[in-house]
Each structure stands twice: as structure tokens, then as C-alpha cells.
């Protein structure tokens, strides 16, 4: 796609006529029309005003990227407006393109190597989670960072500042999965979502689509395998305590609600005890927000590592690195001075 076509697409998205756009940027409608047909090239000043009016980055205008994203599978609240979904998709597209360019620069376009695990019921899902943990050498302990784990297995995780009605979405480009999570979303929710999306990537169900219930079951089982849950809770419990759940959440990064589900799924607690906790959960507003339990925020870092490595090796200029990471040039030139510190968890997160 040439610059002209990109300008035309952006203008149409903004629902502006060539004349109106010309008025905004201070040229004639005929001039805009010529730019769009690549019969003329705007000067730098006009180009900047066009970018501003069309909400386009200069870089995106100049460089076509072949990232075509699939329709996203959202995990969101039902009241997320269409307009907000569009804004999210635009931001995702931008990030995905920059991510793809960073991979190209770092020559890290690697084939995704994920197993395919056939499942038909909850017992299969428990086994699949156990097997994947074993394949990935995770042992029985808590997974320190779901984001880092997925990134280490070539699943791209993108963090996005978005409306808090949005939690996450999964999509793919050219067979490669992207998981998008909201900046500032509760850590336990991000971890569960990532494990849930992982389920959709590795599980194969006879129906062709893994039912959401089984994906959720996988998510719980992946974060806390059955034997670990039994080790922590015991084989049978009459009652659970809130503080106990908070401490387990802090240890494993699985929400308190997730632990209750896990205990019910594994028949550690009775159906009646489960109902009691579901009522309490609603009463205490845990569906919206649970006690945070001091979990460490998980931030995607693979792209930053790739770009800063390319910069350190002199394979990319500082300004280019700044563009790709959406950092200031100062931060890049100082080799991200202070950046690593900013990743250290603050108490209360």
C-alpha cells in the first residue's frame, strides 16, 4: 500500500471529505486528492498536519507492515462499547506492527512450537495441564510470571492502556498468537486470562472449539495443578478461611475465587460450601475486585529486550528504537536507565 492509499483509508475512517481535510491542513481538496492518488507528495509540514488531523503516526504512514490480525476473542464486560472496541483494535494493530518489526530487526520470527493436547472432558483437561507443565519443566511450584512464560514460548503478549471494561483479547496474525491484556488489570486476572488463552492454543476438542468452561478449568489447573491444590488445602475440607485464600492467592497468583472453584472442581469442598463462598464472593464484590494480596505486576518485556539488544548491537538507530518502543530517545540513549527499576513491584499491587 502506498502513502496515498493509507491517507485515503485514514481519511475515510475519520469520515472527512478531501475538501474538509484540505481545509484542516491548509491545502486544497485537489491537493489532498493528488496525495491520495500518489500523483503528488506532501511537503514535510503538510504531512505532519495530515498525520495530526488523521490521527496517524508518521512511521505508520511511511511503512507498510504485513500484520493482518484475526478477529479478536474478547474477555470483556458486556458494556464495552463498539467505539471502545475499535479504539482497542487500532492500538493493538499499532503495537502488533511494531512488535513484528522488532522481531524482524532482531531476526526473532520463530515458529511457534506448542503441543496439541486432545481433551474431551475435565479429567482430560487436568491431565493436559499437568503434561504441559511437565513439558515446560514447571514442576509443582507457583509460576513466577505467566507473561514471561508465554513470551518465552513465542506467544506475544501486548499490554495496552484501555477502558477498564476491557480485560484481554486473543487474536492471531499469520498463525502466531497475540494475547492483549489491559495495563493495570488485576494481576490474578491477567494470569488467569493468559492461562485461559493458552488453553485455546494447546487444547483440541472434538467439537472443534474448546468450550469456555474447559478452558477455565485448564487455566485453574495450569496455575495450580491438582496435586498442588490437594497439598495446600488437603483432600477434604469442611470450611475454608478467607485469610487462607488470600495467602494462597499471594503464593500462586490464582484469585481467591479461582481457589474456591479449584477446591470445588477437585471435590475438596462440598457443593454446599461452594455455594456459600459464591454468595460471599458476590456480597464482598470480589467479582469486580478482590483483595490484591501484594501480587507483583507482570509486564511484557520481550519486545523491549529485542529492541534494546538490536540498539546495543548497533543494528538500529536510537530514534528508531524509541519509535518502536514508544519511549523517549533519552531513555533509549541512556540504555533504559531507570526502566528496569520501574518494573520492580510496588507494594500493594
Amino acid at each position: 500500500m502506498e502513502i496515498g492509499s493509507r491517507l485515503r483509508v485514514a481519511r475515510k475512517q475519520k469520515r472527512l471529505s478531501v475538501r474538509k481535510l484540505g481545509e484542516i491542513v491548509g491545502v486544497s481538496g485537489v491537493a489532498v486528492s493528488k496525495y491520495e492518488r500518489d500523483l503528488d507528495m506532501p511537503s514535510s509540514g503538510v504531512l505532519m498536519r495530515l498525520c495530526q488531523a488523521l490521527d496517524l503516526s508518521l512511521e505508520r504512514l511511511f511503512r507498510s507492515t504485513a500484520v493482518i490480525l484475526s478477529e479478536p476473542a474478547y474477555r470483556k464486560r458486556s458494556d464495552l462499547a463498539v467505539k471502545e472496541c475499535k479504539a482497542i483494535m487500532k492500538a493493538v494493530q499499532d503495537k502488533a506492527e511494531r512488535y513484528s518489526e522488532a522481531e524482524e530487526l532482531a531476526q526473532r520470527h520463530e515458529k511457534l512450537k506448542l503441543p496439541i493436547l486432545s481433551v474431551s472432558d475435565a479429567a482430560d483437561v487436568e491431565d493436559a495441564a499437568k503434561r504441559l507443565r511437565s513439558d515446560w519443566h514447571l514442576g509443582h511450584d507457583a509460576i513466577p510470571s505467566m507473561v514471561a512464560l508465554l513470551e518465552d514460548h513465542e506467544i506475544q503478549v501486548i499490554e495496552l492502556a484501555a477502558h477498564d471494561h476491557f480485560d484481554a483479547c486473543a487474536l492471531e496474525s499469520d498463525g502466531r498468537p497475540f494475547v492483549v491484556v489491559r495495563t493495570g488489570a488485576p494481576v490474578d486476572r491477567v494470569r488467569f486470562t493468559l492461562a485461559h488463552e493458552l488453553a485455546h492454543l494447546v487444547l483440541q476438542h472434538p467439537s472443534g472449539k474448546v468450550p469456555e468452561g474447559l478452558a477455565n478449568r485448564f487455566s485453574g489447573a495450569f496455575l495450580v495443578p491438582a496435586d498442588t491444590a490437594v497439598h495446600e488445602l488437603g483432600e477434604h475440607r469442611d470450611h475454608l478461611s478467607k485469610v487462607e485464600l488470600q495467602l494462597l492467592k499471594a503464593k500462586y497468583g490464582l484469585s481467591m475465587s479461582g481457589w474456591i472453584h479449584r477446591a470445588a472442581d477437585l471435590k475438596i469442598i462440598s457443593a454446599a460450601e461452594n455455594v456459600h463462598w459464591q454468595k460471599l464472593r458476590n456480597l464482598e464484590g470480589w467479582r469486580t475486585e478482590e483483595p490484591s494480596c501484594g501480587l507483583t505486576p507482570e509486564t511484557p518485556q520481550r519486545m523491549e529486550r529485542m529492541v534494546m539488544r538490536a540498539y546495543a548491537e548497533g543494528e538500529v538507530t536510537g530514534t528508531r528504537a524509541a519509535e518502536l518502543l514508544d519511549w523517549s530517545l533519552e531513555k533509549v540513549l541512556g540504555n533504559g536507565e531507570g526502566y528496569a527499576d520501574s518494573l520492580v513491584a510496588e507494594p500493594g499491587h
Binding site: 507528495m41 546495543a312 538500529v316 538507530t317 530514534t319 533519552e330 540504555n335
Partner: protein, 154 residues
């Protein structure tokens, strides 16, 4: 106002940051006319130093005409290691027939392939020493400052 007006230079963003860290922004204006492409306005060099500040101090923000922008586009499409603004600096230096001051290895490589006139930060310091704008001790202190900030070029 510039004291030594014989020189014209295009100065890349990274050099402005180096000059700021070395407290040499005022001094560099004594060298002559300093240019940057107006496309640079899309990203401020530093929180503490805006293009507006630099413009007030005498930086000339140059417009690149259509023909130059076509060249920028051609280069940017084939070279993914440099930013559009980097390319704009190079094309402006070609357009004005003046040296480009940059420390970016890839941009310098691209410039050399196009037989552009190039200086790096050390050369800029040398120019300031030769023009008696700064002395050797300031020059050495500037280099030390960049080392301390981990900003020496590769």
C-alpha cells in the same frame, strides 16, 4: 546570536540530548546555523528541552519539499533500521549541502553509502574547541559525562 556564522550543520536528536547532558546547548549555537527538519517536531528530544526552546535559541526548523519527501519515503521503505526522522535529517543535510552531525551507527552507515557529509559528537566538540568556544578541559568533561550516562556511541 551566533558568533561564528561560517558553519551550517544539521543536528540529529541524539546529539541534542548529548549536548544537553554536557551543558553545551548554548555553546553549540556559537558555531553557526543549526538546522533540523521540521518533521522532528513529532517527538520532543527531552522533557526538559523542547524543539520550541531550541527554536527560541536559534535552531532553524526546515521544511522538506515534496521531492525531498519522496527521497525520504524511498529510503524509509527499504531501511527498517533507521527512523523516518533519521532519514529526514540525512536528506535535509543533502538538500542544504551541509554536514549531518549524528552518533547513530546505522544512520552514519547509510550516510556514507550516499556520500553524505558526516560528523559525530566528538567532531562537533573538536569544532567547538577549534573555534575557541570551549577549551580542551570542557571537551574532556563532556566525553566523561557521556561515559557516566552510558551514552558513548558503540
Amino acid at each position: 546570536m551566533p558568533i561564528h556564522s561560517s558553519l551550517s550543520l544539521v543536528i540529529d536528536s541524539n546529539i541534542w540530548i548529548h549536548l544537553y547532558y554536557c551543558r553545551l546547548v548554548d555553546a553549540v549555537f556559537k558555531l553557526g546555523s543549526l538546522h533540523v527538519p521540521n518533521l522532528m517536531l513529532i517527538r520532543e528530544p527531552l522533557t526538559e528541552l523542547s524543539w520550541k526552546d531550541l527554536q527560541d535559541m536559534g535552531v532553524i526548523l526546515d521544511e522538506l519539499p515534496s521531492d525531498s519527501m519522496r527521497i525520504v519515503l524511498q529510503i524509509a521503505e527499504t531501511r527498517r533500521d533507521v527512523s523516518v526522522c533519521d532519514v529526514a535529517c540525512l536528506v535535509l543535510s543533502e538538500q542544504l549541502h551541509v554536514p549531518l552531525v549524528t552518533n547513530d551507527k546505522d544512520l552514519r552507515k547509510l550516510g556514507m553509502n550516499r556520500h553524505a557529509l558526516l560528523h559525530d559528537f566528538d567532531a562537533l566538540l573538536d569544532l567547538m574547541v577549534t573555534a575557541d568556544i570551549i577549551d580542551d578541559s570542557v571537551c574532556a568533561a563532556a566525553i566523561q559525562t557521556l561515559v557516566e550516562h552510558n551514552m558513548r556511541p558503540h
